[in-house]
């Protein structure tokens, strides 16, 4: 997937996405992070051919989203933020509806529907109306629907929004399993940084319609200057800074107290034992050591100037509104 200077302007003046350029490699899990209104959903909408870019273009699975949108649509799966399944229909009817939209012959779609429903553990509930499903079950049904055409790229827009911790974990487990099973590329936006951190191969942080940083979670965290090791050394009469900074990966050493050092380093978990060994070999005893790794939260805060936590209120509210709307429909 190649995205080239993709730009979208609403109403002639509101720049939602101001020219983004990046690549997503085949088979990777690519995370898209950013505050509300940063342009995440707009970007996904353009890549899934729902919105026409104002300028620039992108290719998905080798097809141009502007010139051959139908070829793109055949090869992608979309799991939207909302629960889009029909409540009046059963889970099975919903998934077969999705299959029919892709024109998959009944013979194949029946087999696939059974297989997918089994995978997301909904087989026992497949003949129940969706209105009786819990949030987690609905999400899993959406996942199954998004996979019915065996997409090469699966787009997930906030797949765990509004789910409790256990259900979130379960959904991620399904996503991992699906990826293993079908070997596809995943493009997702999420609000939970821990999830992005543990799941994604690479992450792009987007703010004000621009990509501010892109890389693996590790790279992003290292960009903050690496891990921080705090060290207490017994009987450190001399300044040991020289000795410590000669250890591999160490970037910066500060003596914060007569016998305490604060070390910035890449690959902290590897460096810490090496520092201990180096000190021991010179006869010093390490009295205490602690390792603090930068979290993605810190990266996010540093790059966007906002903490992702501050926005959670908004999000829950939006979610609630959506629920009310759904009820009003009935």
């Amino acid at each position: 997937m190649q995205i080239r200077d993709l730009k979208r302007v609403f109403n002639g003046s509101v720049v939602a996405v101001g020219g983004v350029t990046f690549d997503v490699y085949e088979g990777e899990i690519f995370g898209f992070l950013g505050p509300n209104g940063a342009g995440k959903t707009t970007t996904i909408s353009m890549l899934t051919t729902l919105l026409r870019p104002t300028s620039g273009t992108a290719t998905v699975c080798g097809f141009d989203i502007l010139k051959e949108p139908n070829e793109v649509r055949k090869r992608i799966g979309v799991v939207p933020q909302e629960y889009t399944a029909d409540e009046d229909l059963t889970g099975y009817e919903n998934i077969m509806f999705c299959a029919d939209l892709y024109g998959i012959p009944r013979r194949i779609s029946r087999e696939r529907a059974d297989e997918l429903l089994k995978l997301v553990e909904l087989e026992s509930a497949k003949d129940r109306k969706v209105e009786t499903y819990s949030g987690g079950m609905r999400r899993r049904l959406e996942l199954a629907c998004g996979l019915i055409n065996h997409p090469r790229v699966l787009f997930l827009d906030e797949p765990t929004l509004g789910l409790d911790v256990q259900t979130r974990a379960a959904v991620w487990e399904y996503i991992r399993r699906l990826k293993e099973e079908y070997g596809m590329t995943l493009f997702l936006t999420t609000h939970y940084l821990e999830e992005a951190d543990s799941l994604c191969d690479r992450i792009a942080i987007i703010d004000h319609g621009k990509i501010v940083r892109i890389g693996s979670p590790r790279d992003l965290k290292d960009s903050l200057g690496g891990d921080v090791i705090e060290l207490g050394v017994q009987g450190a009469e001399d300044d040991l800074a020289q000795l410590i900074s000669s250890v591999q990966h160490v970037k910066e050493v500060k003596r914060v107290a007569p016998s305490e050092y604060r070390i910035k380093s890449e690959l902290g978990e590897v460096t810490a034992p090496m520092i201990i060994d180096a000190l021991r070999s010179k006869g010093y005893r390490v009295s205490k050591i602690s390792l603090t790794r930068p979290t993605l939260d810190q990266v996010y805060l540093e790059l966007t100037g906002r903490s992702i936590r501050e926005e959670n209120g908004d999000r829950t509210q939006a979610m609630r509104q959506r629920m009310i709307m759904r009820r009003a429909r009935m």
């Binding site: 999705c98 194949i108 629907c145």
Partner: protein
């Protein structure tokens, strides 16, 4: 040593297991049919399923035309006005038979049939068509709000199919409703002396065309809309003028000139005219051929415009 090969073999198996489904996925993408119509039936079927699985909605939608029929149709007893009950002039001793005959002729000349109830019953068939068509636009607003529309649009379904499926399902729904209304009207005393199977078929063909055109119109109005309140307002705004500005409730030739002009462009008038000619044997506003041609053109033009607009408007 054997342990090592086992491990190697295992690794190989894992690799195979991982790559096999991927390869399968690749080949399976070639199965996808390229017919532009594959989604049309799926989408139509979805709408219909939601409808017939929820009989309450069907019943509710029938209440209004039946109330109109029962209350308005029976209360507006024009027939009685022109017979002995109404035409009783003191001092003039007109024989009953003369009055009744006069009244009968008056009714026949004005309404094309001897009782107003039958006249209105045909109008109600058009009414339920319009009513259903007006709300066909609502479903696309809901689909947009709930994200279903986006989901459907990210699949290779033709954009025109999205609109056409809603039009077709609306046509099918309203024809079933119209059939029920017709049966109820007959049970309530509609004149059946002129009815024939062919006449009923012809009437429903005209209703289908009317429904096609109006469903397309109201869907077009809703294509860009994200707010069901706007849609409701539009429906309420157009509801009565469309109905009263037609010959559904009252014969057009007794209306003032300016209103007649509107009645003559209102497609409802032509469907009702066909129904009255075929079901009641009434004299028409214009010839059957012209009525059908007008309705056919109306349905075709707005369906085509609807499909063209859906290409432009659905993808923003």
């Amino acid at each position: 040593m054997s342990g090592l090969t086992n491990e190697e073999e295992n690794a190989k198996l894992v690799q195979q297991a991982r790559s096999a489904p991927a390869a399968g996925a690749k080949t399976s993408s070639t199965i996808i049919s390229s017919s532009p119509y594959h989604g049309l039936w799926a989408l139509t079927n979805r709408e219909l399923k939601k409808w017939y699985k929820n009989p309450v909605i069907l019943l509710l939608s029938l209440i209004q035309p039946v109330l109109w029929l029962g209350l308005f149709g029976k209360a507006m007893n024009f027939g009685a006005i022109f017979t002995e009950g109404g035409l009783n002039i003191p001092g003039l001793n007109i024989p009953k038979e003369v009055i009744n005959q006069l009244g009968g002729m008056l009714m026949l000349n004005i309404f094309g049939t001897y009782d107003y109830f039958s006249f209105l019953a045909v109008g109600m068939l058009s009414f339920i068509i319009i009513f259903t068509a007006m709300f066909s636009g609502m479903s696309i607003v809901w689909d947009r709000r709930l994200g279903t529309l986006n989901k459907v649009m990210s699949t290779p379904v033709a954009r025109g199919s999205i609109v056409m499926s809603k039009v077709i399902s609306s046509v099918m729904r309203s024809l079933v409703q119209a059939a029920i209304v017709l049966v109820l009207a007959i049970l309530l005393g509609m004149d059946t002396s002129h009815m024939s199977l062919l006449g009923v078929i012809g009437t429903f063909a005209s209703l289908a065309l009317l429904s096609f055109g109006f469903s397309a119109v109201f869907l077009m109005l809703a294509l860009r809309s994200t707010n069901q309140n706007t849609q409701m307002a539009v429906v309420n705004l157009l509801n009565l003028p469309l109905l009263f500005g037609s010959n559904a409730l009252f014969p057009a030739n007794l209306m003032p000139e300016w209103l007649q002009a509107f009645v003559r462009v209102n497609p409802i008038s032509y469907a009702t005219d066909i129904g009255r000619q075929l079901l009641l044997g009434a004299g028409g506003m214009s010839s059957l051929a012209f009525d059908f041609a007008y309705l056919g053109a109306f349905a075709a033009v707005f369906s085509i415009v609807g499909i063209l607009l859906s290409w432009r408007l659905l993808t923003k």
